[in-house]
Amino acid sequence: MNPPDLLARCLGYLPQLLDGAITTLWLSAIAVACGFFAGIFIYMMSASKSRTLATAARAYVSIFRGTPVLAQLLVFYYVPSGLGWAIPGVVAAAVGLSMNTAAYQSQILGTGFIAIPRGQIEAAQTFNLTRRQTLWHVEIPQVLALTLPALVSEMIDIVKASAVVSVIAVTDLMRVGQQLSSVSYRPLEVYTLAACFYLAITSLLSLAGRGIERRVARRA
C-alpha cells in the first residue's frame, strides 16, 4: 500500500461521499423535524382521556420501537408498490424514518411535558389562552429546554439509522460507499472512509449537544 496513492484515491472518493453525506444529513434533518411534531402529537394522544386514542398511541410506539428500522423501511417502500402505488425511495425513507423517530421522540418529549407544573397550564387557561397557544407558548419552549440533550442523542441515532436507507435505493452515504467499492474493488478503504464521515457527523452533533447542555444549565 503506497501512502501517496492511497491519499490520492481517498481524495478521489471524497466528492461522491460528500454528496452522499449531504443526502444523509437532509434526510435525517427532515426526519428529526417531522418526528418532533409527530412525536408531540403522539404524546398528546397517549395522554388523552380517550382510551382508544391512548391505546392507539401506545401500540404505535410499541411497534416502531420494537421492530428494526430496516423492516419498517421495507414496508414503507414495497407495500405501496404492491398496492399499485410506486413511491420513490427517498419518500419512503423520509416517511419511515420520521415515523420511527416520532415514536422515540414522543417518549422523550413526554418526560418534558410531565415535568411542567400543572399550575402554569391553569394560569394559561385562566387568561384564556387556547389549547394550541398554551402548547406553543408555554409548554413547548420548556419541553425543548428540558429534553434537548436527549433530543440530540436521538438525532445522532437517526443519522446512524439512516444508513439502511441504502437498501431502498436512496443514494445516501452508505449507498455511495457501496457503489464506490464495487467500482474500485477497494472496499476496505471506501467503507472506512464512509465510516469516518459518519463519525464526523455524529461527533459534531455530540459536541453541539454538550455545548447546548452547558448553555441551558447556565440559564437555569
Binding site: 407544573p117 399550575g119 402554569q120 391553569e122 394560569a123 394559561a124 387557561q125 385562566t126 387568561f127 384564556n128 389562552l129 387556547t130 389549547r131 397557544q133 407558548h137 408555554v138 419552549p141 420548556q142 429546554a145 437555569a220
Partner: protein, 267 residues
C-alpha cells in the same frame, strides 16, 4: 353604581366522585366589593373560587358573570352541556386570577409574563401590550425588573408579578387564591400592600385567605365556609367581632388570642 351583582353563584355544587366538596353555595358580589372567603382547610373555599372562572367545572347550580352563565349552554350540567372553549373564554374575560403558587411562566421574562395574556388572548399588538404590561408592573412597584426572569425574583416579587399579570388585562373582578400562603412571613406585607392599594382603587375582589387581620381590614363582606357550605356571611364587624356561630368562634380563637386589639379598634 349598579347594585346588580357582577359575579354571582347560585346553589353551586361540586363533587369529585362520591365526595361532595361544595354543597349549595350562594354568593353575590357587586362591583367594587371586596369579599373574603375564610375557613379551615378542606372547607371548599378554594374550590368555590376556582368555580368562579371555571377552572373547576361545577356540576350543580349556576355561576353568572355580568349576567352571562359561565361554562354551560343550558340547564344541563353534564360534560355534554358544556359551552365551547370560545364561549367560556368570552364569559370569563372580565375575571382574572392570582395564584397561591404564582404560576408564572419561567421561560419568559417578567414583562413577557405580564404581556402574554394581552398578546395571545386579547390580541393586543406587541408594542401596546408591552406598554400596558409596563404600566401594570409600575403599579405593583416592579417596573425595573421587567427584563428579569421569574426565578431570579423573591417570592414576594414573583407574586407581585402575578398580580401585575392579572391586572394588565384590565379585569373587572380579581380572584385571589391564598395569595400570601406560599410566602415567607417577611415577604407577605409587600404583597398585601399591593392588594390593599388595588382595593382602595375600587377593584372588585374575591379572595381566599388565611390572613385574618388583612381580611378584617379591607373586606366589605366576609364568608366563612366549612365542609362545603357557607356557615356564616356578613360584614367584618359581624364575623370577626360579633359572631354567635360557635364553629366560627372556635376557628377564630387562635387569631383572637394572638392579636391583642379588637378588629374595630384598628385604623
Amino acid at each position: 353604581m349598579s347594585s346588580l351583582p357582577i359575579l354571582e353563584l347560585r346553589a353551586v355544587g361540586k363533587s369529585y366522585g362520591a365526595n361532595r366538596v361544595l354543597k349549595g353555595i350562594d354568593l353575590a358580589v357587586t362591583r367594587g366589593e371586596i369579599v373574603s372567603l375564610i375557613g379551615p382547610s378542606g372547607s371548599g373555599k378554594t374550590t368555590a373560587l376556582r368555580c368562579m372562572n371555571f377552572l373547576e367545572a361545577y356540576d350543580e347550580g349556576e355561576v353568572w358573570i355580568k349576567g352571562q352563565l359561565l361554562g354551560y349552554r343550558s340547564a344541563g350540567r353534564s360534560e355534554r352541556d358544556r359551552d365551547s372553549e370560545k364561549s367560556i373564554a368570552e364569559v370569563r374575560r372580565p375575571v382574572s386570577m392570582v395564584f397561591q403558587q404564582f404560576n408564572l411562566w419561567p421561560h419568559m421574562t417578567v414583562l413577557g409574563n405580564v404581556a402574554a395574556p394581552l398578546v395571545l388572548s386579547k390580541k393586543t399588538s406587541r408594542a401596546d401590550a408591552h406598554k400596558q404590561a409596563l404600566a401594570a408592573l409600575t403599579r405593583v412597584g416592579l417596573a425595573e425588573k421587567a427584563d428579569a426572569y421569574p426565578t431570579s425574583l423573591s417570592g414576594g416579587q414573583q407574586q407581585r408579578v402575578g398580580i401585575a399579570r392579572a391586572l394588565a388585562i384590565e379585569p373587572e373582578v380579581m380572584l385571589l387564591d391564598e395569595p400570601t400562603s406560599a410566602l415567607d412571613p417577611e415577604l407577605v406585607e409587600e404583597v398585601l400592600s399591593v392588594i390593599r392599594s388595588l382595593a382602595q382603587d375600587g377593584m372588585t375582589m374575591v379572595m381566599v385567605t388565611h390572613e385574618m387581620s388583612f381580611a378584617a381590614k379591607i373586606s366589605d363582606h366576609v364568608v366563612f365556609m366549612e365542609a362545603g357550605q357557607i356557615v356564616e356571611a356578613g360584614p367584618p364587624e359581624q364575623i370577626f367581632g360579633n359572631t354567635r356561630t360557635p364553629r366560627l368562634q372556635q376557628f377564630l380563637k387562635p387569631w383572637f388570642d394572638r392579636s391583642l386589639t379588637s378588629v374595630t379598634g384598628v385604623a
